[in-house]
């Protein structure tokens, strides 16, 4: 009867944050103070660099900071939204970003220089010039970033609930690193150009490192390492040997991808060759890691959807809504569909309903043992009550016979609040004549849209490349 065991339980179990977990408890942990002190030291070091850069190149430095800060915004939202159902606390996301941007970069500046020098001393300056970045970057930087993910696990173990959480924190550590490193590169490019406080080298660095090289950079490496460390944290059913082995392998995997990216191997270099290098070295790991992220997302979604399904209450979520809630593109499709049928108010109501359903699923998981049957709720089934039962609004679907009052009670007051929110949004949708947050069946043309997207991506890359050539980047 393996069909009754959720996929998430078999390959990527979710450990919900216990209801008794309190964020303030982190203050009692040594790891919290270690992270605080190291982040403060990193901030001082990066601050000194920024101060010196402002003194020498005020306009270029400000431009670099603004450009790369703006660049980080969509990445941040994308990464944070990876875990739609169980959002991570913003403070922890910011901590991960700060570790990458302040601590990991500060460690890497010193460590990388030392590895470069040691390589030159032990071998030759030529070998160090060719292979220094390939050896120093992956070893020092990946370890420095992985420490940040481990620190998050130590500071807020209860918040790392799944492998996907590891991916999210790892990606944000990588993003912080990427942004600060790019600002440093941009200011260095201004200094090397030797033409004073000019923004052209900053723009060239932004296009090159932000767009052409940005998609398959530290954020990606961090995601892979984060997946392994997330596995280490949540697979408590496995042996320590297995968990540590997976974590080490994932960090090694990030190192290997970083090594290939930095190494002169398979490099055509210069002009059009750089495009071939970018795609040859960048696309395979990008696809590989996106597939990995997709897998762990779906497994986590299985778990939370099963929480809602176990209620068996179609006013909370219909079978179709459960299917849709698990997938980002279907959620977006449902909102668009509501917009088409009920205008902006319909779209907003669906968005709020989905949000409330997700929050309710998380709250249920915090107060209940994992459900054994992940099957969608039967339409009109009696179901299981959430918290203390309240009479449903008069304009929603009728209460099933023998419904809420006789059902076992799950979740705490927060679950009750989110259940009520779901019911309010359901009532709103009913009033709008769009009772179910469903999406229309997939239309033909998916492949066409994919191909158009890929073509658009390549066209954008080509445009960035042309802009770089126009700026005289070498």
């Amino acid at each position: 009867m393996t069909a009754t065991v959720p996929r998430s339980a078999r390959t990527a179990p979710v450990h919900p944050t216990p209801a008794w977990a309190r964020a303030e408890k982190s203050l009692l942990l040594p790891a919290f103070w270690v992270v605080l002190v190291l982040t403060a030291l990193g901030a001082v070091r990066v601050g000194l660099f920024v101060k010196a850069s402002f003194a020498a190149y005020p306009v270029a430095t400000l431009t670099a900071i603004v450009l790369f800060a703006l660049y980080a915004v969509p990445f941040w939202f994308f990464v944070a939204a990876l875990d739609y159902l169980e959002r991570e606390p913003p403070l922890l996301l910011a901590t991960a970003f700060a570790w990458g941007g302040l601590v990991a970069t500060s460690i890497s500046i010193r460590g990388n220089a030392a590895v470069h020098n040691l390589l030159a001393k032990v071998t030759s300056p030529g070998l160090a010039a060719d292979w220094g970045s390939a050896l120093a970057g992956p070893t020092v930087e990946e370890i420095a970033k992985a420490l940040g993910i481990l620190a998050i696990v130590l500071v807020a173990r209860a918040q790392v609930n799944s492998v996907l959480d590891g991916v999210v924190y790892g990606s944000l550590v990588g993003l912080g690193f990427q942004v600060v490193e790019d600002v440093i590169y941009a200011v260095n490019a201004v200094a090397i150009a030797g033409r004073g406080d000019q923004v052209t080298p900053v723009v060239a660095t932004f296009l090159l490192r932000g767009f052409l090289a940005g998609l398959w950079s530290h954020t990606l490496f961090g995601a892979l390492a984060g997946a392994g460390i997330g596995y280490l944290a949540v697979r408590t059913d496995r042996s320590w040997f297995s968990r540590i082995g997976v974590a080490v392998l994932s960090v090694l995997g990030a190192m290997v991808i970083h090594f290939v990216w930095n190494s002169p191997l398979l490099t055509l270099g210069g002009g059009a060759g750089i495009f071939v290098d970018l795609f040859w070295k960048g696309v395979p790991p990008l696809l590989l890691i996106l597939l990995l992220v997709r897998g762990v997302r779906h497994r986590e979604a299985d778990y939370y959807i099963a929480q809602l399904a176990s209620l068996g209450d179609r006013r909370i979520a219909t079978a179709d809504e459960l299917r849709i809630l698990a997938h980002g593109h279907l959620r977006a499709s449902a909102r668009r569909y509501a917009h088409g049928r009920a205008g902006v108010r319909g779209r907003r109501a669906v968005r709020r309903l989905q949000h409330a359903q997700a929050r309710l699923a998380v709250e249920l998981s915090r107060g209940a043992p994992p459900p054994s049957t992940p099957a969608p709720a039967p339409v009109g089934g009696a179901g299981v009550a959430v918290g203390v039962a309240h009479p449903p609004p008069a304009d929603v679907a009728p209460v099933p016979a023998g419904g809420l009052s006789r059902a076992p009670i799950l979740g705490g007051p927060t679950a009750v609040r989110w259940r009520d929110r779901v019911l309010v949004e359901r009532a709103r949708l009913l009033a709008l004549g769009h009772p179910e947050a469903t999406a229309p069946p997939a239309r033909d043309g998916t492949i066409r849209r994919w191909l158009a997207g890929i073509a658009l991506f390549f066209a954008a890359m080509l445009a960035v490349g042309m802009a770089l050539l126009a700026l005289g980047a070498s």
């Binding site: 309190r22 303030e24 408890k25 009692l28 942990l29 040594p30 790891a31 103070w33 270690v34 190291l38 020498a56 601590v103 500060s106 460690i107 890497s108 010193r110 460590g111 220089a113 030392a114 590895v115 470069h116 020098n117 040691l118 030159a120 001393k121 032990v122 030759s124 300056p125 030529g126 160090a128 010039a129 020092v140 370890i143 420095a144 420490l147 481990l150 620190a151 130590l154 200094a191 090397i192 150009a193 030797g194 033409r195 004073g196 270099g269 210069g270 070498s474």
Partner: protein
């Protein structure tokens, strides 16, 4: 609000592990680096700086391998003639000799306390590379700079040291700069 003793100990162990690894990367590696000498004697004969440029270093000079970075399209070589630093930087450049000289002057004066002294005058290497030469000064130190243009690169040379040592090394360094060669340059 309490934390279980076992949790606290595990957390402490993990924290110590993180601090030790950070220290190893940020302090240990640099200490190991400092323990090994950065300079080594240069073999006699032409030395490839990068970007197709070669130079014959002064006899008895040493190369700082930590700052020397040869490359296909660019490169840096840092030699030590006694205590005098002799640096050659090759970068891709398509502008004029004057603009290359302007760029180098700007780099020099961007360093606090550095200022240009005297006038620039033209120089030519034994291999026919034409360039400009000038002088600069910093507190307690003197310096010379040369800049050449050829092919798709600019070659920047800076020489700096305490005045007595600089005067003593200058002849050998001028002989060396005369050997600057750009492969493929007219």
């Amino acid at each position: 609000m309490r934390v279980a003793r076992g949790t606290l100990l595990r957390n402490l162990a993990g924290s110590i592990g993180i601090v030790c690894t950070v220290a190893g990367l940020a302090v240990g590696l640099p200490l190991l680096d400092e323990a090994l000498p950065a300079t080594r004697p240069v073999d006699p004969g032409p030395y490839a700086v990068g970007g197709g440029v070669t130079v014959t270093p002064p006899p008895g000079s040493r190369v700082d391998v930590t700052l020397t970075r040869p490359g296909e399209t660019r490169g840096t070589a840092v030699f030590l003639v006694g205590s005098v630093r002799y640096v050659i930087v090759v970068t891709p450049f398509t502008g004029s000799l004057d603009s290359a000289a302007e760029r180098l002057r700007r780099k020099i004066t961007a360093v606090r306390g550095h200022e240009l002294t005297g006038k620039e005058f033209p120089v030519t290497t034994a291999t026919g590379l034409s360039g400009l030469q000038g002088a600069y000064a910093a507190p307690g130190r003197g310096g010379r700079y040369l800049v050449f243009r050829g092919g798709e690169v600019a070659v920047e040379v800076t020489v700096a040291g305490a005045d007595p040592q600089l005067r003593a090394a200058l002849a050998a360094i001028e002989t060396s700069t005369g050997t600057l060669t750009l492969s493929g340059a007219a």
